[in-house]
């Protein structure tokens, strides 16, 4: 336990989480990287998608729900292996959703390093709500 938290705090300091401003900057950087990677994956999937389906006419007027393979993490990952265009976009969207969740994880670790127990706890509660919401219906 002790060793684990030492490792975490060392890693945290390495990431610049040692003070308030450092934590803010680390969160900002993390968000920027997450969004950039997600957008690039979505863009790549989008190019694939339009090359394949660019001349078709999709029906967005009536609600049928997204296809079965695109409504769960499991389904999207399975489609990703086959480089299915919509699954690649879906994977980018999953990365995007994971970005703010990672930011909250940074909060838990960062506030703990700042010896701010209360805000580490607040971050952990937010993280709990997010994970609950995401895995509730999977």
């Amino acid at each position: 336990m002790e060793e684990g938290s030492d490792l975490a705090s060392e890693l945290g300091r390495e990431l610049g989480l040692g003070n308030d401003h450092g934590l803010e900057m680390a969160m900002g950087r993390m968000l920027q990287i997450g969004v950039t990677v997600a957008a690039l994956v979505v863009l790549a999937g989008g190019i694939l998608y339009l090359r394949q389906f660019g001349s078709t006419q999709p029906d967005y007027q009536h609600f049928h729900g997204a296809p079965q393979g695109l409504v769960s993490v499991h389904g999207i990952l399975r489609g990703l292996i086959h480089l299915d265009a919509q699954s690649v976009i879906g994977f980018g969207i999953l990365l995007l959703i994971a970005t703010p969740i990672c930011r909250v994880i940074f909060g838990v670790v960062g506030f703990d390093l700042l010896r701010d127990r209360f805000y580490a706890l607040v971050s952990a509660v937010v993280l709990g709500i997010l994970l609950f919401s995401f895995f509730l219906r999977q």
Partner: protein, 278 residues
């Protein structure tokens, strides 16, 4: 219109929405849903899904810049996120219970409200009185840059702000938007935070709030990759440019123009919802 042209038209519209949304602090989501429903005739639930995705992208993309400038307050943001994420769970659950037409009407009311508040924006500086002891205990305070020095602030009316934030989260989950206007209301009017601190902290919170309903949206099939793709990329590009301009330009004229657009869209959403066309 085939898929390629449809995607390009959506991409262009989304750039504009993201740009105006970032400049006014209202977020791209408030115009994306009505634009998709009214202009592109997209089903309301698909529009919510595409909007929610773009909202997460904008919030996260712009946050990096705001954080660097030292305006957003991560403690206040994190504290209020407890309320917004719980609200978002409720809102996302309600999307499956409420009809598209009702969502349209509620959306329209929120648009009109957003338009109204952004016309009455003012920098609410707190009066000189003893600070809220609850805010001090929760450490809901900070400093922000004014010219070349830093000014201090402490939050007020914490319970009221927390309650309003729950409502903001519910609207976010129900309407697939960031509900920046309601978040700013909680921080600007209730907590009496400096305006720039309110808007940037609100933006900072939007991604986490939206992420709380994303799982539900995904599993209900609201998120169509082919539709979400041009919307997300467009809003992201537009808002990145918009947030750069925000810090240098006077936004008064653009704000007024945007407010008129939002109010018009709001009325049209209410009309279409009430007459059962959505």
């Amino acid at each position: 219109m085939n898929n390629l042209y449809f995607s390009l038209a959506l991409f262009g519209t989304s750039i504009l929405a993201g740009f105006l949304g970032a400049m006014t602090g209202l977020g791209g989501g408030v115009v994306i849903v009505p634009a998709l429903c009214l202009l592109f005739k997209v089903d309301v639930h698909y529009a919510l899904g595409a909007s929610l995705v773009s909202v997460i992208a904008t919030s996260s993309g712009a946050a990096a810049a705001y954080v660097r400038e030292g305006y957003s307050n991560i403690r206040i943001g994190m504290f209020l996120e407890v309320a917004t994420t719980l609200g978002a769970l409720l809102g996302a659950y309600l999307t499956a219970k409420v009809s598209g037409n009702w969502i349209g009407v509620i959306f329209g009311v929120v648009l009109l409200y957003s338009a109204w508040t952004s016309m009455h924006e003012h920098d609410a500086r707190p009066a000189d009185h003893p600070a809220d002891p609850l805010a001090l205990r929760l450490n809901l305070r900070g400093t922000y840059p004014v010219g070349d020095h830093k000014e201090k602030y402490v939050a007020e009316h914490v319970p009221a702000a927390f309650g309003i934030m729950f409502g903001a989260g519910t609207l976010s989950g129900l309407l697939g938007i960031g509900s920046g206007a309601v978040k700013v209301l909680a921080m600007d009017q209730a907590m009496k935070l400096p305006f720039k601190v309110s808007t940037t902290t609100s933006n900072f919170m939007i991604g986490v709030t939206a992420a709380a309903s994303a799982g539900f949206y995904l599993s209900r099939g609201y998120i169509l990759p082919g539709l979400a793709m041009p919307v997300m990329l467009g809003v992201l590009v537009g808002s990145l440019v918009g947030s750069r301009v925000l810090t240098v330009a006077k936004v008064k004229t653009i704000r007024v123009a945007f407010v008129v657009v939002i109010a018009a869209l709001g009325l049209e959403m209410i009309f279409n919802g009430a007459t059962g066309r959505l």
